[in-house]
Amino acid sequence: MHHIISIKEITREEIDEILDRASAIDQGAFDPDALKRKILAILFFEPSTRTQMSFASAMLRLGGKVINLGSVETSSIVKGETLADTISVVSGYADAIVLRHPKEGAARLASEFSTVPVINAGDGAGQHPSQTLLDLFTIRQSMPLDGIDVGFLGDLRYGRTAHSLAVALSRYGVRIHTITPKGLELPPSLTDDLLDGGTEIVVHEHLEDIISELDVLYVTRIQRERFPDPGAYASIASGYRVTPEVLTDVSDRFILMHPLPRVDEIDTRVDALSCARYFQQARNGVPVRMAMLQKVLS
């Protein structure tokens, strides 16, 4: 039985296999009845409408069916049932489970109690492998992953999408550049993991110092809650804002990514530039999730 829980335990070969399959699917090369008569249980213990819709769409496009937990408030969870019990029951109703849960490690626990494959669709501040795979897929649509220069801008301390992507990219000999406000740097344990894996990390103070050498810039939101003083937040956030002016010297193959939703960290004038890939990135969620479902269900 094959679960997809954490990007850390997915090998480069498995990543390539999923991305290759997603490419074929994206070009229309898939069997619309591939998962006919299969049922996917979507268990979301915290709202994330888009991820949920994207998984449901992926399942339906492959001819499968979807059942849903419904609202957490009306189900038995509020009565104090353990996640372990919920998973034991639900794995009897479906052929695979997609789980989103506010506690870190919830998907690992689910995989221990489930009799069917579990896909992690985000567990608290932990892992969210489908986001990472669609991020990789988006980069690969523009350039090969090997040896590229990827910049991460914004909140790298709490930004889990950036953490997982950095870990995945470390399998491809990528050089990582970080541009963060003070206090929102990569966590030391992650930095150590990346360095142990032979990844080069370069820390920059200003985006202008490095932007012309980057192949990819991955922007994450700096959350207001991280700063007790609203004035401090405003001045810091504006210093990390991406505008058309900042992007004047970028290389020909440069792309700009963001996991969305954005607030104001990317100027909407940037949307019209050919390097802006964040809406494409969001669309890529469906073919990548179709490839993931096929991997665990067939």
Partner: protein
Amino acid sequence: MKGKPEDGLLISPIRNGTVIDHIDAGEGLSVLRILGIIGRTTEALSVATNVESRQMGRKDIVKIENRELLKEEVDRISLIAPKASINIIRNFHVERKIGVEIPSEVIGVIRCPNPGCISNANEPIDSSFACQPRGYRCRYCETLITRDIASYII
């Protein structure tokens, strides 16, 4: 335990039981805690702390009468006293010496420091940590404990 005068002054030999020697200085009480010996106990115990040691500078020694440690108890001790040596004593003689081995996985012994971790929620699972070169990594949330492991012992 004859011929070891440096111990003898502080703690007298025991007839039957376990002597845990070469504990990192100051960790003797943590060793007791990890063995579940806290507060009221019927075991006859002696703990010597900050004893001079040729190998270690200073060390702690714990002696527990009438109790022979089990393998998993010995493994737990490795968390905080990786250099410890354990002697099972019968009738004043060292019956068996057990070296401490660092297990690859530690289950149900330490609590995850991450309050958002599912292993701290009300679920029917034990905490589980993988022993890695830089510390102990939670199987669930992947938090890495790099120091002060004794304070996370359940």
